[in-house]
């Protein structure tokens, strides 16, 4: 079987949907976080597939930026989750309904 850009895009879509489902259904903030990373990387795969298809370097560059931003975001996000855990002894988001009226 020849692997074409379509296969990469399908993989990207599948990963993105898995990630999106994870974000809206899971209770554990860490898992939600990982699901967001999965969505980011699904987008990266799409970028790379298009970059390879068009023989362009820009797509690869953007992926590097996404990776760098994701790394920074992971550092901040984990820090927030840890400080939430220290305050409330839980990382389940449904036990933290502070934004309701």
């Amino acid at each position: 079987m020849i692997i074409t850009v379509h296969h990469y895009l399908m993989l990207s879509i599948i990963l993105f949907v898995i990630g999106a489902i994870g974000v809206v259904t899971r209770r554990n903030a860490l898992i939600i976080f990982m699901s967001i990373e999965l969505m980011l990387n699904a987008v990266n795969i799409a970028f790379l597939a298009f970059a390879r298809w068009n023989l362009l370097i820009e797509g690869k560059m953007i992926v590097l930026f996404v990776l760098a931003v994701a790394a920074a975001e992971a550092a901040v996000g984990l820090g927030i989750i840890i400080s939430i855990y220290r305050n409330r002894q839980t990382v389940y988001v449904d036990e933290m309904r502070l934004l309701k009226g």
Binding site: A51, R52, L55, L56, I57, K60
Partner: protein, 659 residues
């Protein structure tokens, strides 16, 4: 026999197997580690041992088969490339292939890495046998072997950098293997961060290589980072050679623990001892030397860069050797010794004797791995005791460990005919003949210190009276066969490994120099004449090392009170050296604390608390709140007022519509 092998696999496939087999081992062991987490490993233990040890051995067998095939070429160049497994990046201006290059240099490295690696894996079966993280340990060790083999076999600089970072990751994981001890976890973090500093230089060097190739409009071919391409279009590097070489060497300074970035290596001894033997002595730390030799065609363009490499190496060799004199932890002695020996390798590379650097790299892998395994055997038998002041007299309790350790010590001290004698002599003689008399003199002094500190460890650990508690000493026993056998094999290699490079003066053939000669045009074109001077230097160095060896041995086995008297007499100097010249404290004062201060006072308390939290977040809320208060003053609760507003509003609306 090999012909029948090649009926089943091509030589290219065999080359891929060298890297694939350890990766398979890592995958199997990682799955087992995850599956048995927090449970007893039970029946999987033998599978872990099998996958973890046999697969690296098969990788070694593949490398050996390729090596034997290569040696059968009479005069033609036996090197080959595997071709690309897949292309990692393809654009009109950037091509990165995933491909391997087997040539005279990379196969020597692959043999050394997989061979010494297999022996240390085997040793680990005994050493780590009772550890809870047995599967995790082998997963990480196999993964390290995979990345190290990628590093040495890569056919381009980018793939080599992948291996380079991969071994750094595994080093971090394995230094902090017992991560529940915060000091050990911190040692891993320190190694990782210090290496990042060097890697930033390495990256900058790669950017510069790309910029040079791209602006010269070199044909893209198999990519600008391909070693073939780089050496073919070598001439383009001439104007930038010094900058590129120095930046790449910055990476080597981090990875190979040279001044000023050596501080991570002594702390890296927090990891299990076989890890210290494999990663922090035999293989990973020599990656910097390998990189310099691999890219010797760039370094050779810049005499300044070469002199810089040689100077840093030589100063490190002496500096680390002095610190080795005062350490009391047996693993720390060996750690400083490793830094010092790596300095010798850079001295050799810097004076242009690249084959001597690789020669010493290989013999050092044998004897330093053996020294660490011997130290591990002692630590294992003495229930974790690492302080040589609390050891002694162990030769009766563990004779094999003792005598293999003595052989390795003789090798590192350069006592003929052990391997270190030939390789160190090659380095010192080349430095001398190529006109670097000062560097030779410093290297010569460091050679004396080397043999003193290593026989100090021998005398204090294995000879004389024991300083260990009696019941502990009586319980000490020789290690199991899985640990003893690798040590004996390495002892044979430590003693006879030097025969690959016997100088012509002694009637031998410098096989390793001839073998590598196609890759090191600079060294060959500048080769000094062999002659009587070499013989004289050899004898002087041998006598110099030998008398220090005897001194160290006798003083630390029979006259242990002497060094204490000397230390008291020269209190200030002793404290300076024993505290490692306070370099960690200086770094702490100059870098760590200012960084902490800036992070805490400026970034956190000023930028974050005042501006982001204070003005942006709380400021917005407060502004809204203030205005809400102002507006809510209108809400007095007095009905007539509301009626008045209503009337005013109605008048305004009607008035507006009417007008």
């Amino acid at each position: 026999m090999l012909d029948s092998l090649y009926q089943f696999v091509s030589i290219q496939t065999l080359a891929w197997l060298i890297v694939a087999l350890p990766l398979a081992g890592a995958a199997i062991n990682a799955l087992i580690a995850v599956a048995t987490a927090k449970r007893d490993i039970g029946a999987y233990r033998s599978l872990v041992s099998f996958a973890g040890v046999v697969l690296p051995m098969l990788a070694f067998a593949s490398a050996a088969a390729i090596f034997v095939t290569m040696t059968s070429f009479e005069s033609a160049d036996p090197s080959f490339i595997t071709g690309s497994l897949f292309q990692w990046a393809v654009t009109p201006t950037l091509v990165i292939d995933i491909g391997l290059k087997i040539d005279q240099l990379s196969i020597v490295m692959a043999l050394m890495v997989s061979g010494v690696g297999s022996l240390i894996h085997l040793y680990s079966v005994g050493y780590m046998g009772h550890d809870e993280g047995y599967a995790r340990y082998f997963a990480e060790l196999n993964l390290f072997l995979f990345f190290m083999l990628v590093l040495v076999l890569a056919d381009n600089l980018i793939l080599m950098f992948v291996g380079w970072e991969g071994v750094g990751l595994c080093s971090y994981l394995l230094i902090g293997f017992w991560f529940e001890d915060i000091a050990k976890a911190r040692a891993g973090t320190k190694a990782f961060i210090v290496n990042r500093i060097g890697d930033a230089f390495f990256l900058a060097g790669m950017f510069l290589i790309y910029a040079v190739m791209a602006s010269a409009n070199a044909p893209i071919g198999s990519g600008y980072f391909n070693f073939e391409m780089m050496s073919r279009y070598n001439a383009y590097f001439v104007p930038m050679a010094t900058a590129i070489s120095l930046l790449l060497f910055g990476g080597a300074i981090g990875k190979s623990a040279q001044i000023p970035l050596y501080v991570w290596l002594p702390d890296a001894m927090a990891g299990p001892t076989p890890v210290s033997a494999l990663i922090h002595a035999a293989t990973m730390v020599t990656a910097g030397v390998y990189m310099v030799v691999r890219l010797n065609f760039i370094f050779a363009l810049s005499p300044f860069a070469l002199t810089f490499v040689a100077t840093v190496g030589t100063v490190t060799a002496l500096y680390a050797a002095t610190m080795g004199l005062t350490q009391t932890d047996i693993k720390k002695i060996l750690a400083y010794s490793t830094i010092s020996q790596l300095g010798y390798m850079f001295l050799a590379a810097g004076v242009g004797a690249f084959s001597a650097a690789i020669f010493h790299l290989v013999t050092h892998a044998f004897f330093k791995a053996l020294l660490f395994l011997g130290a591990g055997s002692v630590i294992h038998a003495m229930a974790g005791e690492q302080d040589i002041r609390n050891l002694g007299g162990l030769r009766y309790r563990m004779p094999v460990t003792c005598w293999t350790f003595v052989l390795a010590a003789a090798a590192i001290a350069g006592i003929a005919p052990a391997s270190g004698f030939f390789s160190k002599d090659a380095i010192l003689w080349q430095a001398y003949e190529r006109g670097h008399i000062v560097l030779w003199a410093i290297g010569f002094m460091a050679a004396g210190l080397t043999s003193f500190y290593i026989f100090r460890a021998v005398g204090a650990t294995f000879f004389g009276e024991t300083n260990a508690p009696l019941e502990k000493f009586k319980r000490a026993h020789e290690s199991p066969a899985s640990m003893i056998v690798p040590m004996m094999l390495l002892a044979v290699l430590s003693v006879f490994g030097g025969l690959i490079g016997v100088p012509q003066v002694l009637g031998g053939v410098n096989r390793i120099g001839t073998w590598l000669s196609r890759l090191i045009a600079y060294e060959v074109s500048h080769a000094p004449e062999e002659g009587a001077a070499e013989m004289v230097l050899m004898v002087i160095t041998l006598l110099w090392s030998l008398h220090f060896a005897v001194l160290g041995w006798v003083i630390y086995s029979q006259r242990r009170e002497w060094p204490e008297a000397v230390a008291r007499r020269f209190g200030f100097i002793y404290r300076l050296v024993a505290n490692k010249y306070y370099v960690d404290e200086i770094y702490d004062f100059l870098i760590v604390r200012p960084l902490n201060w800036v992070s805490t006072k400026i970034l956190w308390q000023t930028v974050d608390d005042t501006f982001i939290d204070g003005i942006a977040v709380h400021g917005t809320a407060r502004t809204v709140g203030v205005w809400a208060n102002v507006v809510s003053m209108a809400e007095t609760g007095v009905l007539q007022q509301y009626l008045l507003y209503f009337l005013i509003g109605a008048v305004v609306v009607v008035g507006y519509l009417a007008l």
